[in-house]
């Protein structure tokens, strides 16, 4: 049992009325992995997390956390997870300390160990300066930290964080990321985000979800290779200002040419010999090539290639 996956999701489907928010997603997370859930607004990230944390039932499919079914053994699952919901719901009228104490109690930490648990998470999440403040007084960054603290106070095996860095300033984002990395040393962590740098900076693995389906699953390098594969081509930079698009397009195996000033992206079916022929063509036309390289999509492009394009993505249709 020691090496069972932390999370196994199979064919999970969730409908809100006649709207299908999740459409048969399946994935597995191994113990100790940090997995980033990436996807545009309305992709189904929060829905997946609500099902994993036993807040909501799926319409079909199954989800197991630490080997326990979220539906049949809900209480056991809830004991082994920590959860930071999207909008960080906290009891506004409580002191940070009292709130953490309450969570420690409800999470079943023994009386004598509660103080220690609080001290540990306060230190880890950098809450020292606000433990005796009312929660409603806190800045967004500190609220987020309190949310993180309550999610890990009971040292759960699996930590589920829904957009832990949303709405924070760049410094805070870095600090929260460090905390997540720290948590991820021992625990399985799943967190959702829209920020690409974040997943490549923090995660071992990325699951890209769009319109309720998983569209990619792998390390960042794998995903970007996958995109490079589907959008293979060359990036050509030339000296002259004249438009070369039409010329490049006449080459065999070239499917499309995109121009941006002196830089062209030449999309190709095959790569190797196009490069030679392109150099030859440039020489024949008397044009100096400044650079010529194989196209390697960056984060933005990877994200857009994986999630964009196919139908628009609504961002303002969320209810509740």
């Amino acid at each position: 049992m020691a090496n069972q996956p932390s999370i196994v999701v199979e064919g999970l489907t969730k409908d809100y009325g006649d709207f299908r928010a999740l459409d048969g997603i399946s994935f597995k997370v191994e113990p100790g992995e940090i997995v980033g859930f990436l996807g545009p607004n309305g992709a189904g990230k929060t829905t997946t997390m609500k099902i994993l944390t036993c807040f909501m039932a799926a319409n079909s499919g199954s989800a197991k956390v630490v080997g326990k079914d979220v539906y049949q053994e809900s209480e056991a699952v809830r004991r082994s997870i920590g959860y930071l919901p999207e909008n960080v719901p906290l009891y506004e009228d409580m002191l940070v300390y009292d709130y953490l104490m309450f969570v420690a109690q409800v999470r079943g930490i023994e009386g004598a160990k509660r103080e220690d648990a609080i001290r540990r998470v306060v230190k880890l999440t950098g809450l020292e300066s606000v433990v005796n403040r009312d929660i409603y007084e806190l800045s967004k960054g500190f609220r987020q930290r309190v949310g993180l603290a309550q999610a890990i106070i009971h040292e759960p095996d699996v930590v589920i964080l829904d957009e832990p860095t949303s709405g924070l300033d760049p410094n805070q984002i870095l600090e929260i990321r460090d905390v997540i990395t720290e948590i991820g040393r021992e625990k399985t962590v799943i967190f959702s985000t829209h920020i690409l740098q974040e997943v490549s900076a923090v995660c071992d693995r990325i699951i890209v979800i769009n319109h309720g389906k998983i569209v990619a699953d792998g390390t960042f390098e794998e995903l970007s290779d996958q995109v490079a594969e589907s959008a293979r081509g060359l990036v050509v930079e030339v000296e002259s200002d004249t438009d070369m698009s039409a010329k490049f397009a006449t080459l065999d195996d070239v499917t499309d040419v995109l121009r941006d000033g002196k830089t062209y992206r030449v999309l190709t079916r095959k790569e190797s010999d196009v490069r030679k022929r392109l150099v030859a063509l440039a020489a024949a036309e008397g044009i100096d090539l400044v650079s010529l390289r194989t196209y390697q999509p960056d984060l933005e492009e990877t994200f857009r290639a994986l999630t964009g394009g196919k139908g628009s993505v609504s961002s303002n249709d969320e209810e509740e």
Binding site: T53, A57, Y71, R78, I81, P85, P89, E92, V106, Q150
Partner: protein, 236 residues
């Protein structure tokens, strides 16, 4: 069991922090107090709590929903209920913890009114049996209203809707026998049995009958059960 206590404790602390709870308790004491002293000075020779026990239940129909209106509704709105439900707590524990907290506040509130019977006692012979029975009745009645209030609070995210629904139900149950007129047919008896005031008057007379107690306890259990089910239905 422990979880119920943790939830109870959190709610109590929150009551002591809250303007609403203080206002409600103060207003209740002010109004019932004013009425008590008024009748006290006008009928100085009658040393009894009857007046108080006649009026207080009507006010409770408003004040109990006022202290329970936010118990679940605000947690639904802010999302803290969602978070709480992903912790190892059952819906029963949540509902019962909150119910007991509301009852505790009522008990404190009633405790403050003990000065009336104590005053009367100084002046002469007070029937402590009937007075205590009256307080027990108030607690049962208040508890039922709190349970109704918690049920109403579980229906909505909006405190105002919550208090209106609860007020309507409490008031309806209080008056239902009077709407039915003189108890003649079986239907009228059914209305009478459903009425909270009918059972309260029985108890306030100084006779604690099992049937009346069972009535209140069932009302409490049914309402809390509905609240629990409403919360749980969000889950599965």
């Amino acid at each position: 069991m422990q979880n119920i206590m943790f939830i109870w404790k959190r709610e109590i602390a929150s009551y002591f922090n809250s303007v609403v709870a203080f206002t409600v308790v103060d207003l209740f004491l002010l109004i019932t107090g004013a009425l008590f002293w008024l009748s006290f000075f006008s009928e100085i020779n009658v040393l009894t709590m009857r007046g108080f026990f006649n009026q207080a239940p009507l006010f409770l129909a408003f004040f109990a929903p006022a202290i329970t209106m936010g118990l679940i509704a605000t947690e639904k709105r802010s999302g803290t209920l969602q978070l709480l439900m992903t912790m190892p707590v059952t819906e029963w524990q949540i509902v019962v913890g909150k119910f007991l907290a509301a009852c505790t506040l009522l008990a404190v509130m009633f405790g403050c009114t003990l000065m009336y019977p104590l005053t009367l006692d100084r002046l002469g012979d007070l029937d402590w049996g009937a007075t205590m029975a009256g307080y027990i009745g108030m607690m049962l009645l208040g508890g039922s209203y709190c349970a109704i209030g918690i049920m109403a609070s579980s229906f909505t995210k909006d405190q105002v809707v919550s208090i209106l629904v609860a007020f309507f139900l409490c008031f309806g149950l209080y008056l239902v026998d009077q709407l039915a007129g003189q108890p003649t047919g079986g239907v009228a008896y059914a209305f009478q049995y459903a009425s909270t005031s009918y059972h309260f008057q029985n108890i306030a007379r100084g006779v604690i009958d099992v049937r009346d107690v069972v009535y209140y306890l069932s009302l409490i259990v049914v309402c809390l059960y509905i609240a629990r089910t409403v919360i749980a239905s969000r889950r599965w």
